[in-house]
């Protein structure tokens, strides 16, 4: 039960941070284009051009990267066919 509550809280945090990201995306793109950003509690707590770099930055700030929302901010015209 304890695990389930913790995991539900984590999903709710992810949901809130994603909503914040989507509603502020254009402004975030202007500032952080071509960078990874880390979001926690609706705040950008780190940014770095590389994945390894942002993981290192988060660890230096005492954050566990497994529990933080990390996004790469692509250029507006970036397209990829999967």
């Amino acid at each position: 039960m304890k695990n389930m509550i913790q995991e539900l809280e984590m999903i709710n945090e992810m949901e809130q941070d994603n909503k914040w990201l989507v509603s502020n995306y254009e402004e975030i793109r202007r500032k952080y284009e071509n960078k990874f950003i880390a979001i926690k509690d609706k705040n950008i707590i780190a940014s770095n051009p590389t994945l390894e770099g942002i993981i290192k930055d988060l660890k230096e700030k005492g954050e566990n990267p497994s529990f933080v929302l990390i996004e790469f901010i692509h250029k507006k015209d970036f397209k990829i066919i999967l």
């Binding site: 389930m4 995991e7 539900l8 984590m10 999903i11 709710n12 945090e13 992810m14 949901e15 994603n18 909503k19 990201l21 989507v22 995306y25 590389t50 994945l51 390894e52 993981i55 566990n64 990267p65 497994s66 529990f67 933080v68 929302l69 990390i70 790469f72 692509h74 015209d77 970036f78 397209k79 990829i80 066919i81 999967l82």
Partner: protein, 151 residues
């Protein structure tokens, strides 16, 4: 039961992302994951971002098939059984014991490939939809998407 999805832009268009937690008892892995629903992929696969942030010991996982992701050659490796938690429309946790999830290891190591690969999110493939008997609803113009259990 429905699991609502978050619609975000990726790769030039809207994608429907599931937000969940992943736990592997065998490899002592636990953390947050977001993965978009990719009906073009047969396998549910963790991307490089989640491989790195979850500290997945990629080289110690059994090697599987060669696969192609975004035009790049990758080797799939199986993380085996994982426990995933999602949230339903009533804010209740949904536990899914999923028998096999993959990680994609790029086999091309040039800087450009690795850089693009590091930005591709994890993907939920048709194996996940079939295993759970989920249907997938996606209406990008209304910004609504969900997985619906057929059981």
């Amino acid at each position: 039961m429905r699991i609502y999805l978050t619609i975000k832009e990726f790769g030039g268009g809207p994608k429907a992302f599931a937000l969940f937690t992943l736990r592997s008892e065998r490899y002592r892995i636990f953390g947050k994951v977001e993965a978009f629903i990719d009906t073009g992929s047969p396998d549910t696969t963790l991307g490089m971002k989640d491989i790195r942030t979850l500290h997945i010991p990629i080289k110690s996982l059994p090697a599987g098939a060669i696969s192609y992701v975004a035009g790049s050659t990758t080797r799939l490796r199986s993380l085996g059984n994982v426990i995933l938690y999602f949230k339903d429309e009533n804010n209740e946790p949904v536990k899914i014991d999923f028998p096999k999830i993959y990680v994609a290891e790029p086999l091309e190591h040039d800087e450009k490939t690795l850089r693009i690969f590091s930005t591709i999110p994890s993907m939920i493939g048709t194996d996940f939809l079939l295993f759970n008997k989920f249907s997938f609803y996606f209406n990008p113009s209304e910004r609504v998407a969900y997985l619906k259990s057929l059981i």
